[in-house]
Subunit: 258 residues, 2 copies
């Protein structure tokens, strides 16, 4: 890798610019590239691939230990990537990394993920990208996941993915020495068992709050969730073409008429 | 179809409960089924597959011409479908229709679409669904699209789609007699050419506003956009499994190590 210029790497997330997962990621990625951080000003979990069109975006410089750490954007993760690349960064980044998310982004829930959507947005803008999440809503042990992210960043420069494809990485929240390897997986069908909690506010009006638990007990082999259960890092190639190609004939046979 | 009970059909959208496209849809669908409407209280364009987890949801009854028209939810289109099915509706619907959206949902932009995500959410909850959009940001001529939606609803009862698959329908904004037919399409690569407009607010602070135009001039044959250009109704089967199966081997060959 001598003589190769350092990669310009944009970091973002959906837990917000002050999240410890993003900070841990930045420490490792700085060792291998020039890092810019553009992330949501506040937590933006479960925003899916939202972009802000109805409201304006504001951008604020954030400092950490007396130095400029990054830019906080009053929008979603996808907004951050879009405005960073189109407007805020002086040069186009070579890679976008989104994370490290607190909690897994696996199964059906990937579609709700702001973390993944930031990486998808980068891919849509023609920039290689991956999302990385730690399989725990509690553990603050991001060090191994950050180390893996740095290795993956270098690998992706060596062996670029086809246009339109990104990686969704999930890392078990166990000590590095217990991690059993890396598995290329497919998106599983883990989902939250959700229920709405009905409550009454101080003024006597009803409101509902979505609660739920990740239900991935019966993860099928080969899926993202199953890999995590087995102590493996899960790497899923994903793309934003949602066409169900295998069902096009079936729909044609419906003989829909004008 | 004699002796078949009337379908229970839930309608939603992302333009908000007061949108004319939703009203036009409701008039046609009432002819073939029992309609419930649960839709966002305000416009929720470009929210992607967002769900509201950080804030509570509120629900308000909306009347039209002195009668109950539907329920307005203080959330996203996906929230509406989730809370309707889990909490608000007395019975599980047989079908969910999202639309009629003002403006196309084609190409790359499908991933940003609140309209499509509402239908996707229904599919994730095991209920057949489709999204329907009118290819114009101005025309209020929703009548033909509504008529097509009603026909499609009946067809989908006759010939159910596989689990996990939904339809994304786009209708040209031309008179019915000029429509040339129905084409089963794939998601194209039409996208918005976007730019951020930098402005200064009355207090002297900078803000950015996302603007853009749909750029689908070079639509490839077989895609959603191309069908619309040719005066055809576009019907794209889509699914929420984002795995890029054809690239799994390639990622395996990257030999990612722990």
């Amino acid at each position: 890798m001598k003589n190769t210029p350092r990669m310009k790497i944009l970091l973002t997330n959906d837990d917000g610019i002050h999240a410890p997962g993003l900070y841990a990621l930045s420490l490792e990625i700085k060792k291998i590239g020039d890092v810019s951080i553009v992330a949501p000003a506040v937590e933006r979990s479960a925003v899916g691939h939202a972009i802000t069109v109805v409201d304006p975006l504001r951008v604020t410089e954030v400092r950490r230990d007396g130095e400029i750490y990054g830019l906080a954007v009053s929008g979603t993760p996808a907004d951050c990537v879009k405005i960073a690349i189109k407007t805020l960064l002086p040069k186009r980044p070579d890679l976008v990394i989104s994370g490290i998310n607190q909690g897994p982004n696996t199964g059906i829930n990937v579609i709700y993920s702001g973390t993944v959507s930031a990486a998808t947005e980068a891919t849509m803008l023609g920039i290689p990208a991956f999302a990385i999440s730690l399989d725990s809503f509690k553990s603050a042990e991001f060090a191994y996941a950050a180390e893996f992210a740095a290795k993956l960043a270098l690998k992706m420069r060596e062996a670029p993915l086809p246009a339109g494809v990104l990686l969704n990485v999930n890392v078990p929240a166990i000590p590095k020495e217990k991690i059993r390897g890396v598995q290329v997986t497919r998106q599983g069908i883990a989902r939250f068992t959700e229920e709405f909690h009905e409550r009454v506010d101080p003024r006597g009006r009803t409101y509902w709050w979505l609660g739920g638990e990740l239900e991935d007990g019966k993860a099928e082999e080969g899926t993202d969730s199953a890999a995590l259960h087995e102590g493996m890092v899960s790497v899923t190639p994903i793309h934003y073409d949602m066409t169900a190609y295998e069902d096009m004939d079936l729909v044609a046979r419906m003989r829909l008429a004008k």
